[in-house]
């Protein structure tokens, strides 16, 4: 079914995502609080005996990773929410409308990326208030860049979520996805430990994790440097990998969604 994209349809779906996000205040609070605990307990707790990593404090090292965690969970969940839409019917309302499925899914991906990034901005603010980043003019520029990076890395994960949500049909699969997809992506993204400090096999695994490059980019923006392993142009490599991942996932999610029966 080849149908033209409809900007109005994309806008509706996007607007719906934003409204729903905004109205689920308890979810926002829970997620911000969770990241706050991570930052405080790990940052000051473990940081107390680890000391510094490279030339930044453990808290500073941790912060971009925790922001990455918020982005990952937020975006994958909003992608997977196509399952809920299907289960609770709203999807039918969209599918019977004279708009293409591609418009619907692009709206979903944009909306998911936007809400997850808002989440990321909240977490970045928390980290800033905890003193994770040293204030300067470059940090100001870095923060703006970081917001762009957030939008970029979330789009691919929403796509992945949509792909998952279009494939699974029951809620029991959630536990599996959480254990085998989300947690490994999170743990291997270099949140807690630098990549050059782990055995080679784990290094390879980390290099296969798209979120690793996302966190890497956030570190470039907020701390001014990434891991030495990727060299002085690490940010360029990271950007390239994320761009490829995005194209792949958005395409994959759109394809699987268009194929799925209402």
């Amino acid at each position: 079914m080849v149908q033209p994209l409809s900007s109005q349809a994309i806008y509706v779906v996007l607007l719906r995502e934003l409204k729903r996000y905004w109205r689920a205040k308890s979810r926002i609070v829970a997620s911000v609080a969770q990241s706050f605990f991570f930052l405080v307990i790990f940052g000051f707790g473990i940081g107390g005996f680890i000391g510094r990593i490279g030339d930044v404090s453990y808290l500073s090292y941790l912060a971009p990773g925790i922001i990455g965690m918020g982005l990952l969970f937020g975006s994958i969940f909003s992608g997977i929410s196509v399952v809920f839409d299907r289960q609770f019917g709203f999807m039918k309302e969209m599918l019977v409308a004279p708009v293409s499925r591609t418009s619907i899914i692009l709206g979903k991906i944009l909306g998911g990326a936007l809400t997850a990034s808002i989440q990321g901005i909240l977490l970045m603010t928390v980290a800033l208030l905890l003193g994770a980043f040293s204030p300067s003019i470059t940090l100001g520029i870095g923060i703006v860049a970081a917001i762009g990076v957030m939008l970029l890395i979330t789009a691919g994960f929403v796509g992945l979520g949509v792909a998952i949500g279009s494939t699974i049909t029951d809620f029991h699969a959630f536990q599996l996805i959480s254990t085998f997809v989300m947690w490994p992506l999170f743990m291997l993204s270099g949140v807690f430990f630098p990549i050059d400090a782990v055995p080679p096999i784990l290094q390879v695994a980390m290099l296969c994790d798209p979120l690793f490059y996302g966190v890497e980019l956030l570190r470039w923006c907020l701390l001014g440097a990434g891991t030495p392993l990727l060299g002085p142009f690490g940010w360029l490599i990271a950007l390239g990998v994320i761009a490829c991942f995005n194209l792949l996932m958005v395409g994959f999610g759109t394809y699987l969604f268009s194929r799925a029966q209402a």
């Binding site: 409204k19 109205r23 689920a24 019917g89 019977v96 409308a97 004279p98 708009v99």
Partner: protein, 393 residues
């Protein structure tokens, strides 16, 4: 003028289940057509095909002059669909749900404002428009869904079980809304239902569908007129007595047909399985209806006899006799039962209803059918939702 033309529409699931089996019919503009049938008869599948949500296995249809294969987009623009499962976004307000719908159908801001005001007025929800839908009662949600289906001024409105799980009062008010829509806006309406009284009250024409085939299509009055005579319905102190009395009635010339029906809707699983299997073996169709008119016609009677051992397990049952001049037969019927010492509990006399018509064309009582186990659970869930959150509305 026919606004919907259906030609040999067929849907086969998994290569073997013929959910809809080569159906053809036309609907005139401004008509209210009711699909009457038990669960799993193929009603929703037909609607899904007509609305382009589901691809037919073969056959085609035109809605508002547009072919469902060739111009699905134009078909979608011509129709409104109120689904059986609730499809409102509960986290949004009533107005937002309507506004999103308008946006999806490409209406500009002014037109949206105007239409939203208009449809809210039609279903009398103006004063609750800015509340979150999750605070609405079941009936209000249903009304809002109907309103939503109208925002883009469809030529045809599909209503899938519009009053499932609603209380009689709400049901009545929704019927009135549907009727008003049809009269004031000249919207052609196709609705599915398994409530005979709903089809009777609302629908100009009734299409009875069973195992994916059309078994009758006519006005309610014409359908009832096919069953000449009156229905005398007997209840016995001991339902097992039905077996004893049947052969005696069968010999009578004044008997046109005889059916055993259950009272209430709950049947044991075993009883339901029997029904399903019986229906599958006896290929239904128009000829089935004709032969069913005569009590002697083998298959129908045989099938009822098969049900014999089951009678006990399926709760209270009645014996329905279609007879000429019912009022004058009652004394004779009572006398016959007394002669062989069978105790009658009650005797009712009525003109044939749509229930009787349904029974005569499908060989089953519409209320017996509950569909698959999963279907029952799903329905239960819808009903719970419909009945939950009931407030002042």
């Amino acid at each position: 003028m026919a606004i919907i033309e259906v030609d040999g529409l067929t849907k086969v699931f998994n290569g073997k289940v013929r959910a809809v089996d080569d159906i053809s019919f036309n609907v005139k503009e401004g008509e209210i057509l009711g699909f009457l049938g038990p669960n799993g008869a193929g009603k929703t599948t037909t609607l899904n095909m007509l609305s382009t949500l589901l691809r037919p296995s073969s056959g085609t249809a035109a809605v508002n002059g547009y072919d469902i294969h060739e111009e699905p987009d134009k078909v979608r623009r011509s129709i409104g669909f109120v689904f059986q499962d609730p499809t409102l976004d509960l986290e949004l307000t009533g107005k937002e749900n309507l506004n999103f719908h308008g946006l999806l159908y490409g209406l500009d801001r002014d037109l949206r404002e105007k239409r939203i005001k208009e449809v809210l007025d039609v279903v009398q929800l103006t004063d609750r428009a800015n509340d979150l839908v999750k605070t609405f009662s079941g009936g209000m949600k249903r009304r809002l869904e109907i309103a939503r289906g109208l925002v883009h001024h469809p030529k045809v409105l599909f209503l899938d079980e519009p009053t499932l799980g609603l209380d009689p009062q709400t049901r009545r008010s929704i019927w009135e809304h549907i009727q008003r829509l049809n009269q004031e806006k000249n919207v052609t309406i196709i609705l599915t239902t398994h409530y005979t009284e709903e089809a009777d009250y609302l629908c100009g024409k009734i299409l009875i569908i069973d195992f994916g085939k059309i078994v009758a299509l006519d006005t309610s009055d014409n359908l009832k007129a096919r069953l000449e005579g009156d229905v005398v319905s007997l209840a016995f102190k001991d339902p097992k007595m039905i077996l004893q009395i049947r052969p005696i009635f069968e010999k009578k010339k004044w008997l046109r047909r005889m059916d055993v029906t259950s009272v209430g809707s709950n049947q044991s699983m075993a009883g339901r399985m029997m029904h399903m299997m019986r229906g599958m073996s006896g290929g239904m169709g128009m000829d089935g209806m004709m032969s069913g008119m005569r009590p002697e016609s083998g298959r129908r009677n045989e099938s009822v006899r098969h049900k014999g051992p089951n009678i006990q397990s399926v709760g209270p049952r009645r014996l329905n006799l279609l007879v000429d001049d019912g009022g004058r037969r009652i004394p004779e019927i009572v006398k016959l039962t007394n002669e062989i010492g069978i105790l009658l509990e009650s005797v009712e006399l009525h003109k044939p209803t749509l229930d009787d018509v349904f029974l005569s064309v499908t060989g089953r009582n519409i209320r017996d059918e509950q569909g698959s186990f999963m279907e029952m659970i799903r329905r239960h869930r819808i009903m719970q939702q419909a009945r939950g959150h009931r407030d002042s509305g």
